[in-house]
Amino acid sequence: MLDVKAGDEQSFGLLLQRYRTPLVNFLYRMVRSREQAEDLAQEVFIRVYRAREEYVPSAKFTTWLFRIATNLALNSLRDHRHQKLEISMDAPVTTDAEDGDEKPFEVADKHPTIEQELVEEDRKKMIRHAIEKLPEKQRAAVLLHKYQELDYAEIAKILSVSESALKSLLFRAYESLRVELAPLVTRHGAK
């Protein structure tokens, strides 16, 4: 980032390459729309680019980056809350359209039968819905903790909470997920 600050355009390309996938995945899991996630990820990179000259390396770059991303995602969720409700109400019962985005990226390593594929699909859908049902801040905490593997101090800074409050957020989130995913947890434990 310091190279980007110094005006090195190539370094910005490296940042883009390094962080686009984690950022798009984090935002996708936050807002549940691939298109919106990519738009928000673009906005994150543009804000990073605009703020490059004011960047002070007082915190880790990832903390700064995901703080921008989290704020954008939370604002977007608030802005689109009503719109999202309307879409959910109009969506077909079989929510294939909702999950269709990810299908091309799910690579099957074995050759499962159609029935197995459906079971796997249902399982993933259940996990996604369980995450989606979490309150926004708990969801952000889980995603940053689980998928970005940031430490507690970093996540606390991103979410502007104390470390103890973050641990409490994560505990409540995992409790909710444990209840929501109870059938899978039992089967998973039986594997």
Binding site: R20, V24, N25, R29, K146
Partner: protein, 166 residues
């Protein structure tokens, strides 16, 4: 350790983020508390389930769109560049100013051409020597006393006419 205190440590235990002594302390509690033990096992299962979600790749156009937006960003200018941009004249004004400058230079050069060349002291002396006789005649005649006493000159034109009539 109480079950309440476990709340802030159980996830870190599951993720292996505790140091040696903290881990031993939590383990001691789990050995004695079946409720927390079940919770720890299920938290671990939840964590494994979250790993099952596939990673998506950004669309191929993502980079292109970001780079296009970056390219469209206004370039930040330095103080001098900003001042120049603000004060820089328009092309029309610049053209008019150039024309005015050219005209001024042209007129100035023409004015210099019309000024007589400087005369050297020797040349001035020689010119004065040539005019010296005329000047002397003028002095002689203007100071000649008898001429001062002469009556005013007669109209010679009228006299000629009279002679012709005779």
């Amino acid at each position: 350790m109480s079950c309440e205190r476990m709340e802030s440590r159980i996830l870190a235990y599951v993720d292996g983020r505790l140091n040696e002594s903290e881990r031993a302390e939590v383990q001691k509690h789990l050995d004695a508390c079946p409720v927390c033990r079940v919770r720890a096992t299920e938290f671990s299962s939840v964590s494994d389930l979250l790993d099952e979600l596939p990673v998506i790749e950004p669309s191929p156009a993502f980079d292109v769109r970001v780079r296009a937006r970056v390219a469209a960003e206004p370039v930040k200018q330095g103080w001098w560049a900003l001042l120049w941009t603000t004060l820089r004249p328009s092309p029309r004004i610049a053209f008019a100013a150039s024309m005015l400058l050219l005209a001024t230079v042209f007129v100035a050069y023409r004015g210099v051409d019309q000024v007589p060349p400087p005369i050297s002291p020797d040349q001035a002396d020689s010119e004065m020597m040539q005019d010296l006789s005329v000047m002397e005649d003028h002095d002689t005649l203007s100071n000649f006393e008898p001429l001062k006493e002469l009556p005013p000159p007669v109209d010679t034109n009228g006299a000629d006419d009279d002679q012709q009539q005779m």
